[in-house]
Symmetry: C2
Subunit: 92 residues, 2 copies
Amino acid sequence: MRLSDDAIRERLRSLDGWNYTEGKLEKHYRFSGFMDGVAFVNRVAEAAEAMNHHPDICLGYGYVTVSVWTHSEGGVTGKDFELARKCDEAAR
Amino acid sequence: MRLSDDAIRERLRSLDGWNYTEGKLEKHYRFSGFMDGVAFVNRVAEAAEAMNHHPDICLGYGYVTVSVWTHSEGGVTGKDFELARKCDEAAR
C-alpha cells in the first residue's frame, strides 16, 4: 500500500541519508573508487532480486545513487523502506 | 585529445545505437530482467577498470544506460570510442 507523505517523512527519521524526492526514496553513497561502488551494486542487486523489488541505480567513479519506489502503487511503500535498509546494510 | 563534433559524428557511423548528446557518448541497452543487466554492468566495469577509464552507468529493471566521456579533456576522445566498443562486446 502506498504510504502518505506524512508517513514517509515519519519513517525517514529512522534512516540515515535517505531523501524523499519526486515520489521516490533516494540516497547518494560515496566510494573511494569505481570497483568499490560496483561491488556495492552487486550486493544491492542480490538483495533486490531476493525481494523481487528492483531499484534504479546510477554509478560512476566514486559514487552510487540508489532510487526506490513501487511502480505498481505509484509511490513509496513499506517494501521500499525495507529495500532502503538492505542497501544501507550492503554499504557497511 | 578531445575530438571535434565532426570527428565524433564520423566515428559514430561505425557504432550501433550510440548517440552523441550533451558532450557524451550514450547508449541504452535493453535486458529481459534485472540480473541480466547487472551481469552486463560487471563486464563493462571490468573492461573500464582495465582501461582506467570509467563510464557513468544507470540501470534498472530491463535496462542499462552507459555514458562515456573524458573528464580531463572536457569532451569525447578516442578512448571513449574504445570503451564504447568494449561495452558492445560485453553486451553480446
